[in-house]
Every structure is written in C-alpha cells, then in structure tokens.
Symmetry: C2
Subunit: 128 residues, 2 copies
Amino acid sequence: MHIVHDYPTDLDPRVEALVTETIGRVADKWTMIVLEVLTEHGELRFSKLRALCEGISQKMLTQTVRQMERDGLLIRTVHPVIPPRVEYRLTDLGDSLSEAFCGVWVWAARNLDRIEASRAAFDGRDAA
Amino acid sequence: MHIVHDYPTDLDPRVEALVTETIGRVADKWTMIVLEVLTEHGELRFSKLRALCEGISQKMLTQTVRQMERDGLLIRTVHPVIPPRVEYRLTDLGDSLSEAFCGVWVWAARNLDRIEASRAAFDGRDAA
DNA sequence: CCGTATCCCTGGCGATACTG
DNA sequence: CAGTATCGCCAGGGATACGG
C-alpha cells in the first residue's frame, strides 16, 4: 500500500502563490546550510558561522543572515564591545523550518548512490 | 521539552559534501514546483505541466525535467505519434523526495503570516 | 506538440578596498 | 571583527525563431 501524502489544499490561489514565493525564498542553498549549521552548533558568531558554511563568501553570508533575520528565522545579537561581537541563533520559527528540512537532508543522504547511479545510466544512454 | 532533531551524523566529510551538493541541485524553485505539480496531478504531458507551473518558461521547464530525469526523479515517456505526445511522471525516488519536501510546504503554509509579520516589524525598525 | 538553437541582457556573486 | 561599498564578470534565464 502507498500512503498518498496530501499537500495543504489551499483553494485560494493567493495563498498558493504566497506559499510558492515563501518556498522560493527559503529553499535556497545557503539558507538551508546556515539553518543546518546553526541547528547543529547553536549560537555562533559571524566568523565562526562563516567558517562552518564551507565556501560561502562574506557577502553572501551577510545577505543570507539578513534575510533570515527579516523573515524571523534567526536572532542577531550585537555585543557593544570592541572588537565587535555579533552572534546568531535560530528562533523557534527557524528551528521549526530546520525540522521541516531535516527530512530532505535525510533523503539526500539516503539516496545519494541511487542518484549517482541514475546519472551514470543516463549519461551512458545518450552517449549511445 | 524540546526534541532535538538529529541530522544524519555523517562523519565522512566527503559524504557531507555530496549531500550538500545534492541538496543544492534538488532544492531549487522549479524542481520543487514540478515535484509538487506531478505529485498532485500524476502523469502529465509537457504542455499541461507547463501550464500548471505558473510562470515557468519552456526553456526552464525542459531544463528542469531533463535534470530530474537524469537524477532519476521522473520518467519521460515519448509516444511516437504525430503530433508528439510526451508524458512525465514521478519515479519512486521522485515520490520519496516529494514526501520529504512535503514538510516544508506545510511549514510554509502554516507560517506565512508569522513571516509577513516579522518582515513588517523588521522593515518598520530600520525605517526608524 | 515538443522540443533545440541562438541571441541578449539582467542581476547574482566573488574580489577587493574601506569604515566603525 | 563585522560589516558596507564598489566594481566587474559571466551564467541563468527570457524571448524569439526554427526543426522533427
């Protein structure tokens, strides 16, 4: 048997559009990674967070955390000391999103080789 | 009490990198939308699929479904008739990914107003 | 109908330099 | 240390035209 997983049946197309837009916002690579890193490590200051987000530029990190702060996914705490110390931690909302994404991470980890195999087969086919 | 949701603890950084790359591949806007549309409607031909993916260009749809086919997320069936009829449906792998993403959709639908409120508050703050 | 091929241009992003 | 500001590139993606 196969359980049909039902999506929220929002009949209102306006809600539908908003959800789609929200997904678009939230489902980008760096947001997902920042989310995961903060989930794993708790509160982090900027430089540490950057180091843990392998390959991110300062610009992109700043941009990403700003947007996440605006969306209420994380809290940015500025300690008024010199040199400045800024710390980031997820809000409850951020935690809940992280939890929602968890399934996707697990899926990816679990199906890596299936994907690789499929790609190899596909590439083999159109080589012929 | 708060349940800490543990991520798959892959000690191997190579696996970690692959997972991240896979996430990056799969977590783009159009892939998610195609996934949702095919989940909701079952098998669809190209033009219908395009119509249901509001705002997608032909180029992007072609590109997206090709990549998804390569990754083993969907099956592309070409019926040798004139005019051509090409149909797309999710594989089991595609279904499982869709299921994994389902939580994110639900999250988005559920937290829309929280996000909007947060944005309004944020924008209000830095106006001052 | 379902694409591929081509042109073109916007904007995402890195690199670098500078400030509180 | 944690940003902002500026420049410059080039890839993503739309528009259009054409092919099987």
